[in-house]
Amino acid sequence: MAAILIGLVIGLPWLGAIVIWRTTDDTPHLQHTLAVAFSIAAGLASLALIRFSSAETAISIPMGRYFGDLTFTADGLAVTLTAIACVIGSLAVIFSVDYMHGEGQLGRYYSFVLLFIGAMTGLLLSGNLLFMFFFWEITALCSYALISFYNDDPKAVAGGIKALIITQVGGVGLLAGALTTYSALGSYQVSDLIARAGTIPAGLLAVIAFGFLLAAAAKSAQFPFHTWLPDAMEAPTPISALIHAATMVNAGVYLLARFYPAFEHVPGWTMSVLMVGLITAFIAAVSALIATDLKRTLAYSTVSQLGYMVYAIGAGGVFASQFHLLSHAVFKALLFLAAGSVIHSIGTRDMRRMGGLGKRMPFVRNMFIVGALALAGVPILNGFWSKELILEVGLQGSPIWAYGLMLLGAGLTAFYTFRMVWLVFFGAERDQLHVHNAGSAMKVALGILAAGTFVTWLFFGGLNGLLASTLPFHEIEHESLMELVTAIPSAPATWLALLVVALGAGVSWVRVRGLRLFGGGWLDLLVETSFGFDSLNQTIAKGVNKLAGRLSFTQTGVLSWNVVGILGALLVVLIFLVWSA
């Protein structure tokens, strides 16, 4: 049964992608209907798959001597993230019916969305490192195609290419790790790597561990690769929701969580993971303080929350990170889709031109506030429970200064969340904007996600049991929902965190009232250049281009020279062989 369902969750989106690719763009109604049908079917299959999760390999297809078997394993970690990808993905598709209404080239849009979802589930369920890399690269390609969906807009194209190049750097890390694993163990199986990590020589294991960390950092937009995600905001908003909540960025956190038991004893690895998460969470939160673009603010908040998850893994809290990933997926999808309704309605993303929109679109305002409160970590929404869990883990598993910084980060989160809500929905109207209310498909998607924000933390016990029982190498303590509900409010750290959150919101309130809405001075400059990392990226890109220009004289197009080159290379190989023999 698990085998059939795995086939469905990967196959249905891909089949849908092919079918929609074959439709013509003068039948938009058919395209909307097909996309919604295929994504909802995949979502239902992924929910059914949760019941059949086990640590056993569900599908094993022999692929010859050199690739190992193509295996799929539906263990707790994989099915949880698969369900997130498919369900949130299908809600983003439903939302698209209104958002993309009247747009051209819907075939291309929906095909890539479904291909994206299918590739993500393949990546999560794959038990073979090489095929994991294969799916990993397809998600990168889809993200590029969708970020650059408006391909007549130079900014969108640049954002897409930036995302593609940076995630390719991570892909190299993953491939290097996979090949090193094969050279050390003679197998590409994920389960082999986790079970037999102790038998790999320490140096090689470090190469694999840091290669995977590189891959995860690039995919999840972690320091020093955090620059691509805010630039990816040129995409249509449902795509941003998809990338931020369902597919793309979760892959990096998944990779770290998956291989944590294999790498936790590599010297310096957990500390590196912790530092990457810490630095990312902090600088992204600072960036979000002064961003004036609504989607960019949300993008920075995603980067920051991903930093919290990575930090939790570094501190040893694999379960806490996955719990926060679930909460974050739901409330961030809600925030993005609500922001999408606003942007779709008024036609701008600039928060300086918004203000006072709450009266005109009360439904969207209420939904956005629910998401914002969850992001800030206000009880009893899901973001509160998972963030407190991460801070709890951090208090036990990381240095006290790191915990202090993360606590400060929680305050900053409350600050920018509050500022964002105020700028968009309250205060005086700063510009004459034509507003129309959200469509019904939008309302359905928003309503479901808002309900999810209230209830997903109730799955704590189930998620914990699922992970604890199907991940033999992760040491996850059995905890029930009751224990969570009694432990969190009784811990002094919780009240400290709530105090910091309240303080952040309070300072935000004071600043907003004092009309100093848009930050200022030196901080602006720092954030605009992504703390200098944007110029670093530019330098590298320009350097590569320059080098290519310098080397282009070797490409004469004259056949004789090419033959000389081939013979010269042959000679080098022969000399090397004779010399080494």
Partner: protein, 103 residues
């Protein structure tokens, strides 16, 4: 080196390769380049059979050689057809004159 049958064939392969590469270096006529490439591929075909025999897996070598022959025939046909088109449109077969791709 004693002249076993294997060595004799190996010598033949090397000879074909040398002729082929020499031809590639000095030829500028498109038709002749196709011919020279054929010589090189023939060297590869013989080498494949030789490799099969030497490793005790003659069947594999032969089947690979047969595959190469099929693929190579198609390459030769397409290349000759292109050469004919180039001659008709540009009026010459000299590589130096038809080259428009300059770095």
């Amino acid at each position: 080196m004693t002249l076993t049958p294997l060595n004799a064939v190996l010598f033949g392969v090397v000879l074909l390769l040398v002729v082929g590469f020499y031809g590639l270096l000095i030829t500028r006529n498109l038709i002749k380049i196709v011919l020279v490439l054929q010589i090189l591929v023939k060297a590869v075909v013989v080498a494949l059979v030789l490799g099969g025999k030497a490793s005790g897996n003659l069947g594999l070598g032969q089947s690979l050689a047969a595959t190469v022959i099929v693929a190579d025939t198609i390459v030769a046909v397409v290349a000759l057809a292109l050469a004919v088109q180039v001659r008709r449109r540009v009026g010459t077969l000299d590589l130096a004159k038809i080259s428009s791709l300059r770095g």
